[in-house]
């Protein structure tokens, strides 16, 4: 329940932040990687660094992480199939993976694992659609419901949380 409330709080704060729809959309698209792909991998460290140092919505990234975790679990069989095809069935790609797996640092990416590679590839393919969809959703929300929600008592209660101060560090 608490997690749900936190998620809701995060959602509302993100939608009502000073970030532009583009910044929120990019934050969501980057944060989706943290949820869709197995978390303890080098590419997710890069995604975290990008979320922190690029002028995108960090909160949106964290929100997307939470939202996309169940999606990732659900799509694991698909990721495995895609990864299996890329790593094993597509023999023309074998030289690429052989080089990758035997190159310093690149070998640490775990891209020789079917689920890791499949999920990263699918995330990259979905990056632009996720960005566009979330950007569109923010624009529509702000044009229709945003102001009414902002005036509501519910919004004031949520935004009064102390956690907001930490959140502001990353506010775009």
């Amino acid at each position: 329940m608490l997690a749900l409330l936190k998620l809701l709080q995060s959602l509302v704060k993100t939608l009502h932040s000073e970030g532009t729809p583009t910044q929120i959309g990019l934050g969501v698209a980057l944060g989706a990687a943290l949820g869709m792909t197995p978390i303890v991998n080098a590419h997710n460290l890069l995604v975290l660094v990008l979320l922190a140092v690029l002028n995108v919505s960090f909160g949106a990234g964290m929100l997307a992480w939470a939202v996309f975790v169940p999606v990732g679990f659900m799509l694991d069989p698909l990721f495995h199939r895609v990864g299996h095809w890329l790593l094993i069935d597509a023999t023309s790609l074998r030289p690429l993976w052989t080089t990758w797996d035997n190159t310093p640092v690149l070998a640490l990416t775990n891209f020789n694992n079917t689920v890791v590679l499949g999920s990263v590839v699918i995330w990259l393919l979905l990056f632009v659609p996720i960005y566009l969809a979330s950007r569109f959703a923010v624009v529509r929300y702000r044009a229709t419901l945003g102001e009414r929600v902002r005036q509501s008592h519910f919004y004031r209660v949520l935004s009064a949380s102390q956690a907001y101060n930490v959140y502001r560090w990353f506010r775009p």
Partner: protein
């Protein structure tokens, strides 16, 4: 305190529905300030986060790593791996392990190895490729065969090693080691046999069903001939034409009548051909049943052997006696060597093809990890050389040993050299004069070849129980030589024991009153003071042939033949009579049914032939009568 989405002092709201007089679109600031691409202040919390991660690693990293290594090692070896202490020396890219214990997969109460201190120094550059190249391995104070405080837990989870262990146990159970049966022959009063267990009875019952189905098939085929209908039709025609001639019928009528008779005769001929076809197929079917009947008789031979085994008649064949005496101990020895060889083949596979393994365990799906091997690259694991001092604390081989390993690798094709290991005894004056274990695991080529040899001289050989007798044989000091070669899937294992001081001890746990044959065998065995054993396992690794010969089995077989040979022969004929009676009871009705089937088929065919011949003659006579002898049937 400001709240989310609140407007800073002096700034306009950045979003929201436009006012009536505003022209700027929603979601866009009226006076947009160009946002910078980077958010440098984000580095501060990032660095803070990294610091926390670093602190957690310092606090719990070694503990987590120790647990991970224990888990992975247990899975890989198929037996419990315990590590008491683990330290990481980042500056030296080294790892120090203390209190390492590997449980014996064949005895959970013993440790195969117990290592007090183990230091692994790694080359740092290959670590960036997730590869472990061991520059130096220092192992101190190794003990083998120590007793465990708590028994090792069974490794039941997935992984290759547990499945290899199960496979080896299944492999060992496939050998039909004969029992050394020493039941007195005169106690065999009656032979209790379950007829359903006899192969020939099973075959006879199946044949009975087959004969029944053949009979039904022939019956149906005979009915389908419609013999009676054809004959009735022909007789009706003849009855109609009886007493008529050309004058009463006229030319046209006579021609029509001749045509009808010829048509009927053609039908009769066609039916005769079908009868002949049926006769031929009937003969083939009955011949086939007769052939199957012969296989029932052949199955009887295996039933004799089965019954012989059931009542445990002693065998006089020396190889059988040898296998009964030393089969289990031989298989146990080879099984252990084969287990480690199989494990080596799994973790050191030949070739450079990508290798698949299960992904890392995690909440998410593990997936499959593919290891791509590039030529001119580091292997995933390589131990260039290790020199180890080992102390065996328990058993007849206790003492100090020196061991050396070279080129232990996960990709032998990259290294291009076989893995070699050697263990040599470095102390003298105890239970072993010399002991040498060498191994050559050559997986560099496409066909792996593994050779393991164990040579011990002046060694206190382990004692072993004599199956079926309350005695243990203690070979004393002697020579043991074992060589196992696994070339592709062809196994060749040889084990030799020579001892001149064989002693016999009563097994206190199995003491009981001996019967007459046991007493004889015991007297024969305990009178032998030397042991020469040659055991061989050869053939495909999945189903090798076990051959054992020793001076003991020759002596036992000769004595048994002299003393109880006549009684055994009598018991054997009794067995044969009993089997014959059971099999005949079931097979005699089947034989009778097959004979009856042949007679019935022949009778029916002969009957049909006779009727058809008679009918053809009548039709021919009628044609001649109509034409005044001018026309006849072809």
């Amino acid at each position: 305190m400001s709240t989310a989405g609140s407007v800073r002092s002096g700034e306009a709201s950045t979003y929201g529905p436009p006012a009536a007089d505003e022209r700027a679109p929603p979601n866009e600031p009226t006076h947009r300030r160009r946002a910078s691409f980077f958010r440098w202040r984000g580095i501060t919390p990032l660095a803070f986060g990294l610091l926390i991660v670093g602190a957690l690693w310092l606090l719990f990293g070694e503990r987590v790593l120790r647990s991970t290594v224990e888990e992975a090692g247990t899975k890989a070896l198929g037996t419990e791996l315990d590590i008491a202490d683990l330290e990481i020396h980042v500056a030296q890219s080294a790892m120090e392990l203390g209190g390492v214990a590997i449980a014996d997969p064949f005895d959970p109460r013993r440790n195969l190895l117990e290592i007090k201190r183990l230091v692994v120094e790694l080359e740092p550059a290959p670590l960036l490729e997730k590869k472990l190249i061991v520059r130096r391995l220092t192992i101190g104070d190794v003990r083998t065969g120590t007793t465990r405080v708590t028994p090792a837990r069974a490794v039941a989870t997935g992984g290759f090693a547990p499945s290899a262990l199960r496979e080896m146990q299944r492999w060992a159970s496939q050998f039909d080691v004969p029992l050394l049966s020493l039941t007195p022959i005169d106690t065999i009063k009656s032979i209790v046999l379950d007829p359903t267990q006899l192969a020939s009875v099973k075959a006879a019952l199946a044949l009975g069903l087959r004969a029944e189905s053949t009979r039904t098939m022939l019956e149906q085929s005979y009915t389908k001939l419609q013999l009676q209908e054809t004959l009735d039709s022909s007789r009706a025609l003849l009855t109609r034409l009886q007493g008529v001639n050309v004058r009463t019928l006229g030319i046209a009528g006579a021609r029509t009548a001749v045509t009808d008779i010829r048509r009927t005769a053609t039908r009769v001929d066609s039916l005769r051909r079908r009868v002949e076809t049926l006769a031929a197929s009937g003969r083939v079917a009955v011949d086939s049943l007769q052939g199957a009947l012969r296989s029932v008789d052949e199955a009887r031979k295996s039933d004799y052997a089965f019954a012989r085994k059931l009542i445990k008649l002693p065998s006089f064949d020396a190889p059988d006696v040898g296998a009964a005496l030393f089969g289990k101990v031989t298989i146990d020895k080879v099984q252990q060597a084969l287990y480690w060889t199989t494990l080596a083949r799994q973790y050191m596979p030949p070739g450079l093809a990508p290798k698949q393994s299960d992904g890392p365990p995690r909440l998410r799906a593990a997936g499959t990890t593919v290891h791509f091997v590039a030529s001119q690259a580091y292997p995933r694991f390589l131990l260039r050389r290790a020199d180890v001092d080992v102390t065996v604390t328990d058993g007849p081989a206790r003492g100090k040993y020196v061991a050396a390993l070279t080129d232990v690798t996960s990709e032998p094709a990259l290294v291009g050299r076989p893995t070699l290991f050697a263990i040599r005894r470095s102390t003298t004056g105890s239970a072993v004069d010399s002991l040498r274990i060498t191994g050559n695991l050559d997986h560099a080529g496409a066909r792996p070849r593994d050779v393991i040899t164990v040579q011990a001289a002046g060694v206190e050989l382990p004692d072993f129980p004599i199956p079926g007798l309350p005695y243990r044989a203690n070979p004393g000091r002697g020579m043991s030589d074992m060589r196992l070669t696994l070339d592709g899937d062809q196994l060749s294992a040889r084990w030799t024991i020579v001892s001149g001081k064989l002693r016999w001890a009563a097994d206190s746990l199995a003491t009981r009153r001996l019967n007459s044959i046991e007493t004889l065998v015991a007297r024969v065995l305990t009178g032998v003071s030397g042991l020469q054993l040659n055991a061989q396992l050869t053939g495909a690794v999945r189903s090798p042939k076990l051959t054992i010969s020793s001076n003991l089995d020759r002596v036992v077989a000769d004595q048994l033949r002299n003393v109880v040979g006549a009684q055994v022969a009598a018991a054997e004929s009794k067995i044969r009579a009993r089997v014959d009676s059971l099999v005949d009871e079931k097979s005699a009705p089947v034989k009778a049914r097959i004979a009856e089937l042949r007679t019935e088929a022949d009778r029916r065919v002969a009957d049909a032939r006779a009727q058809l011949d008679a009918e053809t003659q009548r039709l021919d006579a009628q044609v001649k009568a109509l034409s005044g002898g001018l026309v006849a049937l072809p």
